[in-house]
């Protein structure tokens, strides 16, 4: 297999320019899809027969929850690539992803709480799904704090990568918590195998929001990685050409 594309992608100047070029192609579709998804979820979707209009929280809660885990997984893969092949750009990607993941996790917890109050009669319960999602938030915050506390960039990269990889164990726990334990949280609405358990009117805005949040994360990640690359490569000669052109 030919790996030149990978080495090219991992080169900071190449990635810096590429990220700059694709940012608007992620941002504008994300914006449009969020508008469409919100309209579909808040206006077009019918109220749920059990939960009434409260179920609409799913349109922000579930995509945020999915992103909170997706970002962690992606960050851990980047961290592993950085550790194993010593690719600096991979560490930059991991560093850029952590704060965004923390934000999505925070929103997942708060919107979940706002949904739980009218449906379950409680803001919070120490059940498996909620506790493991809270641990995810602590993992993100721990990663951000760890990175901020080590001055030497290479050591900070390596330490954060190890912690990120250890934390991966939490991902299957979050995902399977609703099956392994008797939790208050409902099971998945959409599964890869088998029919989704909701009608198409309710389903499509959810799918639109899933795609929108993915694109949104892509855009924010590109911007942040560019910032990281500028900080890390400040003495590189390509930067002079790039910034003074």
């Amino acid at each position: 297999m030919n790996w030149t594309w990978f080495h090219k992608l991992a080169s900071p100047p190449h990635f810096y320019r590429l990220a700059g070029r694709i940012t608007p192609w992620l941002g504008w579709p994300a914006f449009l899809l969020i508008v469409i998804g919100l309209y579909g979820g808040l206006v077009l979707a019918p109220p749920d027969y059990q939960q009434g209009d409260a179920f609409r929280i799913v349109y922000v809660h579930a995509p945020s929850a999915w992103m909170s885990m997706f970002i962690y997984g992606m960050m851990a893969i980047a961290a592993a690539i950085g550790l194993i092949w010593r690719i600096k750009l991979a560490h930059a990607v991991a560093a850029a992803a952590a704060p965004v993941g923390a934000w999505f996790t925070f929103v997942t917890l708060v919107t979940g709480s706002l949904w739980g109050r009218p449906m379950w009669g409680t803001w919070w319960q120490w059940d498996a799904r909620m506790t493991s999602e809270l641990i995810l938030l602590f993992l993100y915050l721990g990663l951000i704090a760890l990175r901020a506390s080590i001055d030497d960039r290479e050591r900070a990269d390596r330490a954060s990568a190890v912690l990120a990889l250890v934390g991966v164990v939490n991902l299957p726990i979050i995902h399977y918590s609703v099956y392994w334990w008797n939790t208050l949280h409902q099971g998945s609405t959409i599964t890869k195998f088998g029919k989704p358990s909701i009608t198409f009117d309710m389903l499509w805005p959810l799918l639109v929001m899933f795609v929108a949040f993915k694109l949104f994360f892509g855009m924010v990640l590109m911007l942040r990685v560019r910032g990281e690359v500028l900080r890390r490569e400040r003495d590189a000669s390509w930067l002079r050409e790039e910034l003074t052109r």
Partner: protein, 56 residues
Amino acid sequence: MNLSDFLAMGGYAAFVWPSFGLTLIMLILNVRNARRMHALAREHALRRLDAARKPT
């Protein structure tokens, strides 16, 4: 559908709107933070380049 029914969210307004509001604020903050981070890093890098070019 009239507007006040829509805003009432079947009695769940106090839970639905804060959820959507918080999510939108989070999205906007993330874009703003990311842009600011990139702009700051760019400014720093440029200042460094200037300083290196004309040694005082």
